[in-house]
Point group: C2
Chain length 310, copies 2
């Protein structure tokens, strides 16, 4: 049984109730709790030492990242974050001062987005620091942008630039909350998610959820400076483009909307967010699968970014 | 800086917003999210291998306990649980079958109380299994029973029997959701919490929150059979009474109400919950501190259960 089969089996059997509008499988759960005109969003996420940060990472940046990842999931639903609870798993001899610094980074980001920190649990986790953040948000009823709505013919967009996040962005990224709400307020988004496992890893989830395929235009995929620099220095065994597809932790928005909205969107975006790149990177197509169009033709592409050249 | 000073400092600085009715420091946060007539409860908790369970504990019981602990916190507010999200931190080579069993235990308990499992995050936690559960509940507006309302003269009650939880109850305890809602529906509870760190460890939190003290009646504290058996076998270096005060993980309800309600409550309880013991174990008094009354007089008592005999 692979990871996806396991998740599929687990998800089928999970208990549900009348409050659940959208259960597991999207960026957040969507709940109907009788708030007039509003639905709630609910999400948990965790960062672990040695995986999402290093022992030497400044505690403020660890705390910031722990919250920012969940905020990015609320953004992916076009929602507004409200309140978070924090579980700290602390290694032996962890210093009180480091805990204060973790919370300093977390609190600063929370204040920036109006999020209340309403509870915390501290436990021992011998060997390594772990921080789990559960976040509650809200969204106007029916306005949550799910992964399931992409339609053949849609244009496919991504914010920012992809790849090379490990050089620093994975700690300091801006969750795209403002951008996502603006998008959902002004354009008929069909589907949206945030990029955490890389475009080649995440887009297939959206495609499967929507029962469609996609064709990426290679020249349109925005590659970050960090990915280009690393490829140029030769300390990565793969191209900057492969890094943009597979590095992960971009925490940018990936979304689709009707193709006739593409040009109006690009125009309006330049005025509203002149500092942040927005790229139309391809289109949604009928049938399953992810393909890449380059100068030589159209090629299948796997979740690991491996391109099968025919 | 000790643990309580650290928590006090962290708590003072946490970001808040208009949705927060009761922030950190109670069993759950209480949120006002514009649900007519209702407030939301929000809580996170975690269990860690080697601390809350052993490597040899059956995965179903681990999953059950992970959820049951958070359910006990919702009970302590007299609330109703609605939806949970789960973070699994998995050690290397953790078997898919064990994950399925963890969820089987968790799901069974969730179904029993009508809780939906609406999201999960899985990450690596090298070395040990960790499960963090965030739980959302609801309660009629103004009906959440906080730790802050105890008044001098109140009678102090506890459900069930205390001590010796490690013999098995810590895995299989019943979260007192039904009992807590019945209590809040039928009696004017002043303050309530659940017992996770032992009566001597937890009661002082309630006393400080309410700015009162308490006098326990030694002969009234209900001691579990497990604690008595262990003391009788002599494999514990302390008395069954000390175990009842300090063992922890009892997950029983501790609450106060006006003393003239004590006898009507005991009568009604026997009819409604004939299988579950309810004990009046003392009274709330003016001033700070926790004291114990026994045949020899009244003695101060510390959070570690140490009794200072004068």
């Amino acid at each position: 049984m692979n990871e996806f089969e396991l998740i599929a089996q687990l998800t089928r059997e999970l208990p549900t109730n009348a409050a659940v509008h959208t259960g597991p499988g999207d960026d957040c759960a969507v709940l109907d709790l009788d708030v007039p005109g509003q639905q709630l969003l609910f999400k948990t996420d965790a960062v672990v030492e040695g995986i999402h940060f290093e022992k030497t990472t400044a505690p403020e940046r660890i705390g910031r990242k722990a919250l920012a990842r969940s905020l990015s999931d609320i953004a992916a639903m076009a929602g507004t974050p409200v309140a978070a609870v924090i579980t700290l798993g602390l290694p032996e001899n962890f210093q009180p001062d480091s805990i204060i610094q973790i919370y300093a980074g977390l609190n600063q980001l929370a204040r920036q987005y109006g999020v209340a920190i309403v509870g915390g649990e501290t436990t021992t986790n011998p060997g390594r620091l772990l921080i789990s953040v559960a976040l509650l948000g809200r969204v106007a009823t029916g306005k949550a942008v799910l992964r399931t709505g992409a339609q053949a013919g849609d244009a496919l967009f991504v914010t920012g630039e992809l790849g090379g996040s490990r050089a620093g962005k994975h700690l300091d990224f801006t969750p795209r909350l403002t951008e996502a709400r603006w998008l959902a307020d002004h354009f008929p988004l069909h589907a949206m998610m945030d990029l955490s496992d890389g475009l080649a890893g995440d887009l297939p989830h959206l495609l499967r959820a929507s029962r469609v395929g996609a064709e990426l235009l290679k020249s349109a995929v925005p590659i970050s400076r960090a990915a280009r620099d690393r490829a140029r220095r030769g300390d990565a065994a793969r191209s900057a483009f492969a890094a943009a597809l597979t590095d992960g932790e971009d925490f940018e928005l990936l979304f689709t909307l009707p193709s006739h909205e593409a040009v109006p969107l690009l125009d309006a975006w330049k005025t509203r967010f002149p500092e942040l790149k927005l790229s139309c990177i391809g289109k949604i197509v009928p049938g399953a699968g992810l393909r890449l169009r380059d100068a030589t033709g159209v090629h299948p592409i796997t979740a690991h970014g491996y391109v099968h050249f025919s």
